[in-house]
Symmetry: C2
Subunit: 211 residues, 2 copies
DNA sequence: GGGGGGATACCATGTTTTGGGTATTGAGAA
DNA sequence: TTCTCAATACCCAAAACATGGTATCCCCCC
C-alpha cells in the first residue's frame, strides 16, 4: 500500500488524481492539497511515501516545496508534474531533490506506473524529459575522465578547500595545520596535476571532477 | 514490428536474447553478433531500429561502438547493457549517444519493455542508473541560475580568460592590453562578483555559469 | 631494523595578485 | 555641451602565492 499525497492547484485535476489513486488497491491517497501554504503541516499529518507535486502553483511553487520537503523528509519520494518541459524547471527540480518528472498529459495508467516506480527507487520520467536530462549530462564532458592524478586523501582534502575559494591561511585553519604544511601539500598537488597556480588547480579539480 | 540487433559476447546470453526477441510478435531480431569487428557492415545489413549493446566486449567495446554507430546512423536507438553500474561507463555511454542503459540482471520482460520505450523515444534506465544520472546533473549547476552580475563584455572576456587558468600577463597578451588594464578589469570584476581572489572569481564564474 | 611514503613544519626568495590611488580617451546620454 | 562610463594605462605597497630547500615523526612493509 503506497501512501500518496497530492499538491495541485487545479481542482478538477486534483480531485481526479485523488479519486484515481484512492480507487486502486495498491495506492492510498493520504491528502490532496491545492497549495503549499501549510506544506510541512500537511506532510507531517499525511505521512505519504510519495508526493505528487505540481510545479506551477500560486504561493510557494512546486520546486521550492520540494526543497522544503527534502530538507525535513529526505527519504520521501517526490514526483514532479508539470505542463511545460523547459530545461530550467527540470534542472531546478532535480537539484531540489525530486526523483521523477512527468508531464501532465501523461495518461492515468502511466502516472500510476510512475508512482509505483518511484516508490521502488526508480526515477520515472516522460521520454521528452529523459532526453533533456541526458542532454544536460552531455553538455558536461568532464565528469567522464575522472583522472585520479594519484592524490592522497589529505591532498584531496586540501584541494577541496581550494575549490571552495579558500586562501592558504583559511585552509590551514580549517585543516588544523600550519600554513607551511598547506604550502607543501599545494606544491605536491601542483606537481601531480601539472599546474602552476591555484586557479589552474581549481579549474582542473572542478572539470576533472576530482573533488 | 521493431527490428532489434544484438551485440553481446556471451553466447548463451546472446542466444537467449535473440530467442526472446524473435519469439515475440512485436519484435524482430535482425542480427546477433558476438563482437564489433564488423560493426558497420553488420549494422548496414541488419538495419535495426534498436541496438542492444553490451558494454564489456573484447576488441571494440560497447561505448566505442555506440560512437561509431551514432556517427553513421544518428537516428538509431541504442540500449546499453552492462553488469556494472559505474559512473564512468554510464557517463561515457550517454556522451557517446546511447539512449538507454540497463543492467544485465534486468528481467526479460523489462528488457522487452525497455526496447519498446526506447523505440518510442524514451530513455529507459534501471532505477539505480537513473539515480546516478540525476546525481550527475546535480553536480552541474550551470544550466540554472545564470546570474548576470552586470559584467561588461570586456569584463566577461577577461573573466573567461581567468577561467582558462591564465595569469594576468597571459590575459594581457591575449587581449592586447597592458597588465595594468587587466588589473583594473579584474578589480571591477571582483567588486561585482563580491570576491577577493582569482580562484573565487573562477569558481563563481563556473558555478554561476557566467562564462 | 631499515627503507619508503605521507604528513607535518620551517626557511628563503622571487613572482603574482590584491586593493588603493590617478589620469586620458572616446561613446553615448542628459 | 557637459557628464557619465567603459576601457585604457600607470604607480605603489601589502598580501598571497609559487618554488626551491631541509628536517622530523609515524606507519607500514620488506
Amino acid at each position: 500500500m503506497i501512501k500518496v499525497a497530492i499538491f495541485e492547484d487545479n481542482r478538477s485535476l486534483r480531485e481526479g488524481l485523488a479519486a484515481m489513486i484512492g480507487g486502486t488497491a495498491e495506492f492510498e491517497c493520504v491528502g490532496a492539497f491545492p497549495n503549499c501554504n501549510n506544506l510541512l503541516k500537511n506532510i507531517t499529518q499525511a505521512k505519504p511515501d510519495v508526493v505528487l507535486m505540481d510545479i506551477e502553483m500560486p504561493g510557494i511553487n512546486g520546486i521550492e516545496a520540494v526543497a522544503i520537503i527534502k530538507e525535513e523528509f529526505p527519504e520521501m519520494k517526490i514526483l514532479m508534474e508539470t505542463i511545460f518541459d523547459d530545461d530550467e524547471k527540470i534542472f531546478n527540480s532535480i537539484c531540489a531533490g525530486a526523483e521523477g518528472y512527468i508531464l501532465k498529459h501523461t495518461p492515468p495508467a502511466e502516472i500510476m506506473e510512475a508512482i509505483k516506480e518511484i516508490h521502488e527507487g526508480g526515477s520515472p520520467m516522460t521520454p521528452s524529459i529523459a532526453n533533456r536530462v541526458l542532454k544536460m549530462v552531455k553538455t558536461k564532458p568532464e565528469i567522464g575522465h575522472k583522472e585520479s592524478f594519484d592524490l592522497t586523501d589529505r591532498e584531496k582534502e586540501i584541494l577541496t578547500c581550494l575549490v571552495k575559494g579558500m586562501s592558504y591561511k583559511m585552509v590551514a585553519d580549517a585543516c588544523f595545520i600550519s600554513i607551511e604544511t598547506v604550502n607543501v601539500h599545494v606544491k605536491n598537488i601542483y606537481r601531480k596535476l601539472q599546474v602552476h597556480s591555484k586557479s589552474e588547480a581549481v579549474i582542473k579539480a572542478i572539470k576533472g571532477r576530482i573533488v
